[in-house]
């Protein structure tokens, strides 16, 4: 199965850039364009400052959690469609179909990790390196597990409820706006904060920001929450996927 997964990820990377002139460079160019846009709007026009009493450049703040968001959002939207996209082989070849959502998730993360690595490089060259930064890795692993679980659930649901595909993009956009990624949790009025505490991504974003921007380990209870979420999501994902996969050939 691992073998199959590697092949699928390879295939995914190849098909993504097969026939496009710039190839893998797109993986970096597109997010950079998005980042520049946010930077221009928030830092340039609105003069946003992420934290009231610090001189933290907005760009650093944005970048500290933005790539993780991109990977999360792309992973989820790609996994939801992955069974439909591969309807031909799902219907005609007998293989563990669960590798499909896992492939979509992992390949999205791999993809955006390239951008993140470049950011870290620039960041540590202009600033300083601390071993605390390595804490990003366990948080990232927890996030990938969380993503993979959600990906399985939605990939299995979509063939049955196709309308879900129509709203996924908007839901993800909504989640982006209520996650402390473009702005910090400090700038949110007290009465709205409750919304944020119900958003799982808040805990991920805050953990990354703490590690990368302040060189401090994340809050222990944040880690506890995301770990629980990840475990719950992956168990539910495997359970729901296995429950629904038998009907794929009928509904596709």
């Amino acid at each position: 199965m691992i073998n199959l997964l590697i092949y699928f990820i390879k295939k995914d990377f190849k098909t993504k850039y097969a026939g496009s002139g710039l190839g893998l460079i797109w993986a970096f160019l597109l997010p950079v364009f998005q980042v520049l846009l946010f930077w221009f709007v928030f830092a340039g026009i609105m003069k946003a400052r992420p934290y009231a009493n610090s001189q933290m450049p907005y760009l650093y703040f944005l970048l500290s959690s933005f790539f993780f968001w991109l990977a999360f959002s792309e992973g989820l939207s790609r996994s939801s469609n992955i069974i439909l996209e591969n309807a031909e082989i799902v219907k005609k070849v007998s293989f563990p179909t669960i590798v499909l959502p896992i492939t979509a998730t992992l390949s999205s993360y791999l993809h955006h990790l390239i951008g993140f690595a470049i950011f870290v490089l620039i960041y540590t060259v202009t600033g300083s390196f601390s071993p605390i930064l390595l804490l990003v890795i366990p948080v990232l692993l927890i996030q990938i597990t969380f993503s993979a679980g959600l990906g399985m659930i939605f990939s299995a649901l979509l063939p049955y409820i196709r309308d879900l595909g129509q709203i996924m993009g908007y839901v993800l956009q909504g989640i982006f706006f209520i996650s402390p990624i473009m702005y910090s949790i400090d700038t949110i009025p007290e009465r709205f904060r409750i919304i944020f505490y119900f958003n799982p991504l808040t805990y991920f974003a805050m953990s990354y920001q703490k590690i990368i921007l302040f060189y401090k380990p994340p809050e222990l209870y944040h880690i506890f929450i995301i770990l629980l979420l990840a475990i719950f999501s992956i168990i539910a994902g495997i359970f729901i996927f296995n429950k629904l996969k038998d009907g794929f050939a009928d509904v596709l």
């Binding site: 092949y7 098909t15 509904v251």
Partner: protein, 383 residues
């Protein structure tokens, strides 16, 4: 002997929804919002390891559904299935292939999909490439392939992974004549190696050649299950009767005496329904005609697949008139095993206009020896 495949009460019901949203409604309201179509009903059988098994039936009888369930790409609504060993299917060849990748990359990808490790594949890669016989194209993207090369590659990968159970669906018509021969040989070599083969085809000839036991599916149910010749002959007979039933309905108005002055009332062959090579075959034809219409009678002896074996007509007897009961005899008929029938015609005196035609019921010459063919010709061996 060990069993390779055990099927118990396999039933497949397709739910037909008028609208996709009804599927959702059903989940929410817990009430059925669909019509049901039973594709397979209570299919049970057991296959020993190394047995070759044929599935026949008309279009829509459930053959493909059954094959898909065996290939595990479709799950049954109820019932249980157990397959021992690795299964490879030649249903819809090449569905896992990607056109942008080279043949080589596709072999590895498809192999992984079928559950082979890279090591296992590397060992067999030479064999796969050699069998597919596509030359340098192996290093070019699949989109540059002809459709023949495409299926050849797919066939090669699917058969080279050395499955324990091979599921074949009409795949014998793959590629050119040369490759067809190669693929049949390959399937036969599986048989020799003691692998289990499930084979589905419309070509009764192949079924008889390849399979020991045959399952006849009719409207999703087992109509007959048993040794190959018994089942295939019954199936051929059924098909012919069905066709002649249809034919009668179509021809009834035409055969009305007010329109057609000459009609065939009955065509009978004796002995019936079975005879042996060397028996005397007698054919009785009853003709009803009014006295003013001279006619001639022609007879074609046909094999069930409509091959004309021989024909004869009343040439020397001059014209016939009025109601007649004719007899035709083939003494010591030298036909070999198979199912045949007689088609009789009544024609005008110039043999141009067909007044009426009618088929006899099919009759069998049961298979008793291993030889094949249509007729026994006089011959001798010089050794």
């Amino acid at each position: 002997m060990d069993t390779a495949i055990t099927l118990k009460n396999i039933t497949k019901i397709y739910k037909l929804y008028d609208r996709p949203s009804n599927r959702l409604k059903e989940v929410i309201f817990k009430k059925p919002f669909h019509k049901e179509f039973v594709a397979l009903e209570n299919i049970s059988f057991e296959l020993a390891q190394g047995e070759s098994f044929g599935i026949i039936g008309e279009n829509g009888a459930g053959k493909t559904t059954l094959l898909k369930i065996l290939a595990k790409t479709l799950s049954p609504t109820s019932g249980s299935m157990e397959i021992n060993g690795k299964v490879s299917s030649l249903l819809e060849l090449g569905s896992g292939f990607h056109p942008e990748f080279t043949g080589m990359e596709n072999i590895y990808f498809y192999g992984a999909l079928l559950g082979l490790s890279k090591n296992e594949l590397s060992k067999r890669i030479a064999e796969i490439i050699e069998f597919a016989d596509i030359g340098d194209f192996i290093n070019y993207p699949l989109k540059t392939y002809s459709s023949g090369m495409y299926v050849r590659l797919a066939f090669s990968v699917a058969t080279t992974i050395d499955p324990d159970v091979l599921i074949v669906d009409e795949a014998l018509s793959v590629g050119d004549l040369y490759f067809q021969k190669k693929s049949i040989d390959k399937i036969l070599s599986f048989k020799k190696k003691g692998k289990t083969i499930v084979f589905c085809s419309h070509a009764i000839y192949y079924i008889n050649q390849l399979c020991k036991t045959v399952l006849w599916l009719k409207n999703g149910k087992i109509e007959m299950y048993g040794p190959h010749y018994e089942v295939t002959q019954a199936y051929e007979k059924y098909q012919l009767e069905k066709h002649s039933d249809r034919g009668e309905q179509r021809e009834t108005p035409e055969a009305d005496s007010s329109v057609t002055p000459v009609r065939i009332k009955e065509v009978q062959s004796l002995p019936f329904p079975n005879l042996k090579t060397g028996d005397d075959l007698k054919i009785k034809i009853k003709v009803v005609a009014d006295d003013s219409s001279p006619y001639k009678v022609a007879v074609i002896l046909k094999r069930i697949d409509n091959l004309d074996v021989t024909s004869t007509y009343t040439s020397d007897t001059g014209h016939l008139n009025g109601d007649r009961e004719l007899s035709l005899e083939f003494p010591s008929i030298q036909l070999k095993a198979g199912t045949y029938y007689i088609r009789a015609y009544v024609l005008d005196e110039h043999m141009l206009h067909v007044y009426d035609t009618r088929d006899s019921f099919p009759f069998n010459i049961p298979k008793e020896t291993i030889d094949v063919g249509l007729v026994a010709l006089p011959h001798k061996w010089i050794i």
